[in-house]
Symmetry: C2
Subunit: 423 residues, 2 copies
């Protein structure tokens, strides 16, 4: 980009092209959209060498720039990962079509027949970090739901994303759909994000930000269009006095350590003070034994000298790593209070055999997902049976929890009459 005016003009044009493409998509049959998704998968397999070569360029630059190991791992593609991306496109094609579904249907006493029918949201802007797979996943989920998308990936992944995007465009072309159904912002200029957050003169209907705290802060400050927010997951497991100890041990280990980098990973373990003598030590020793760092309150530190003292910051922290904060609380109400104060309204689990205690927790913890006797790592659209997802919304508005193709739709009311006028 040479100057601000050029960038502004470029972004406005992306917006206009997306609106025009979405008009075509909105009336395209499901079969045509699915055909495009399958052709994209084929293109990705055919162009494997090109995509991996582009990814190697990104990896070299990122390594030279000193990107950390977790970042490099998110950026890295190989044949297996690319095959997984292609398979993901086929799975999205196989999902039921969300568009045109009749959600509700009733007839009024005056004979008016009213239907609530799913329709696309329109144009979705997605701003994400350097994970090349998001380019395919997000573009495909938007296409499945008949939305046009404008994708802005992290700059470290620019060559990988461009190579994957070329395959998506090949699929659109093969199915006879406009190429502008899925557009990738062709610049790493950060001002492009500002243009998207301003809505591109009304052409973007929704923004989905996926990234760290600085992106979220910018979105909250600048966005002039609706946002489906994906904040951090400070997820809690509460082990109640009436918990089956073996079940609690299995759930805590799984919730924390199955994968530590996902938003549904547990970050804090709350143990009922009434279970201190029975449950606390085995849970803490399991975690330490599995290589997890434990930061605890006084009672937790008393269990094992390897436990580090937790500070106030720990209760607020999404580690996304093999670290857990542990605290005794005064029963289920203590847990509910702690979660209300420190949680991020994402996913929390209670382990107990007491049904009344479980129901109290499920009713009073105000998070997108609340679980009883199950691991927080089930916080996932696929595990919920919703197919692929674009993320887990921590907003209360429009979509909460896993955001799959249904959550990328709006609805309209279709009313059929026989000449009714209103008295």
């Amino acid at each position: 980009m040479n100057d601000t005016t050029n960038l502004h003009d470029l972004m406005q044009q992306l917006g206009r092209d997306a609106v025009a493409a979405q008009r075509v998509l909105a009336v395209a049959a499901a079969e045509q959209r699915n055909r495009a998704l399958l052709a994209m998968a084929t293109a990705l397999r055919l162009r494997e060498a090109v995509v991996l070569e582009a990814n190697a360029r990104d990896m070299d630059a990122a390594t030279a720039a000193g990107l950390n190991a977790a970042g490099l791992d998110r950026l890295r593609l190989d044949a297996a990962r690319l095959a997984g991306i292609a398979r993901g496109l086929e799975e999205i094609a196989a999902l039921p079509d969300p568009v045109g579904t009749v959600i509700a249907d009733w007839t009024r006493p005056n004979g008016l027949h009213i239907q609530r029918v799913r329709v696309p949201l329109g144009v979705i802007g997605i701003i994400y970090e350097s994970r090349p797979n998001v380019t395919a996943d997000a573009g495909a989920l938007c296409l499945k739901s008949a939305n046009a998308s404008i994708l802005r990936g992290g700059s470290e992944s620019q060559h990988s994303s461009a190579a994957i995007h070329a395959c998506l465009v090949e699929g659109l072309r093969a199915a006879g759909l406009p190429e502008s159904c899925i557009q990738l912002v062709p610049t790493t200029d950060r001002a492009a994000v500002g243009e998207m957050l301003a809505g591109l003169a009304g052409s973007i209907d929704v923004i989905v930000p996926r990234g760290g705290k600085s992106l979220i802060a910018r979105v909250q400050q600048e966005a002039r269009v609706p946002v489906i927010g994906h904040l951090e997951g400070i997820c809690h497991v509460y082990v109640d006095r009436a918990a089956n100890l073996e079940m609690a041990r299995a759930i805590v280990l799984n919730a924390k350590l199955r994968r530590t980098g996902v938003c549904g990973a547990a970050e804090t373990l709350l143990v009922d003070a009434a279970a201190e003598r029975t449950h606390l030590a085995p849970l803490v020793r399991d975690l330490l034994g599995a290589g997890c760092e434990v930061r605890g309150d006084a009672a937790t530190r008393a269990v094992d000298p390897r436990v580090v003292a937790a500070t106030e910051d720990d209760w607020h922290t999404e580690y996304l790593d093999a670290i857990i904060a542990v605290k005794l609380v005064a029963g289920v109400d203590g847990a509910i209070g702690h979660i209300a104060r420190y949680g991020s309204d994402h996913t929390e689990s209670i382990v107990t055999d007491d049904a009344a205690t479980a129901e109290r927790f499920l009713a009073r913890v105000d998070s997108a997902i609340v679980l009883h006797n199950a691991s927080t790592q089930f916080a996932d659209g696929g595990e919920f049976g919703m197919g692929a997802e674009i993320g887990i919304s921590t907003d209360r508005f429009h979509a909460r929890g896993p955001v799959g193709v249904e959550q990328l739709t709006s609805y309209k009311y279709v009313v059929r009459g026989s000449g009714q006028v209103r008295p």
Copy 2:
């Protein structure tokens, strides 16, 4: 208000009080919320004299300030209107409870039982013009859905709104609910709107603006929280070549003239060019005969010398008055194109006996409500069978069309397991 700091502190305190009250509301039984609504109706009836006296003060001041006739009519209360407001509260109490409803319910192959359950949105800020009845309607709809509300009414209605609000508080008290469940901003300082749009430090979850274009523009510029938008209703009736003429005449007259000040009133009549000789003249003469001003294209002007020439502006205008713009279009696709260009995505109707043409219109017109052979004046939550409404959303996000108590909720996922961990 003496200075900005005081206003800021006052508004922040309103926000904190609303959050605290909503926590109580969230776990209050439906019966307690309904008891409060019924007690509010009783209080309004008991305090009729006080409310009408307060309204007289507002009317005197507004008359002296030169408020126009439509504005004075919206501001005026009398015994019958007040009785209607009280009855409205009782009708809201009688609606099914939206909170805690299980929207969906399924079991996964691993035995996890997943429910999607309605929960309140939280704290709703409502910014409205000088219609005292909105104070009662909006506060009651929010209470029914277990949301706390912060109400900011127009300054001309300040005494009327305060008197009505006192009755709402009396009802809350009678049912043992916190008075801060429904708060009225106690200042006419316009900076209070800015504080609300900034979200009161995270305490407001959603803003519902109801007002003219200047308010909407301000909301779009300043809002830092989600908005349920209520833009104008530039509603269209399209009379197709295959329309039954008598049906078309009845629908057009009703859509335009039943009530001209509502957002579902038709503002533009589109007539199929193929029906020029059969349908145009009777439709235009009906409207003129009923006292409606007609602004038309050349063909429409040829019908009657009283027809005024329409300008480009007319196709963009929500008259909210006995004025209609009339134009010939090239069949149903001409109508769809005109609506896409000039409409406000609110409510549009087609009159035709041709089923395929009707389905094409219903599928391709992307408005919140599309009707076949029925008047646009059915755009109303009550007419849809949804009970009372806070308005008609012209947004695509979260809520579209009539916004009743269900649309003022979010949901959460409640997952019940038996020790499941994720492989």
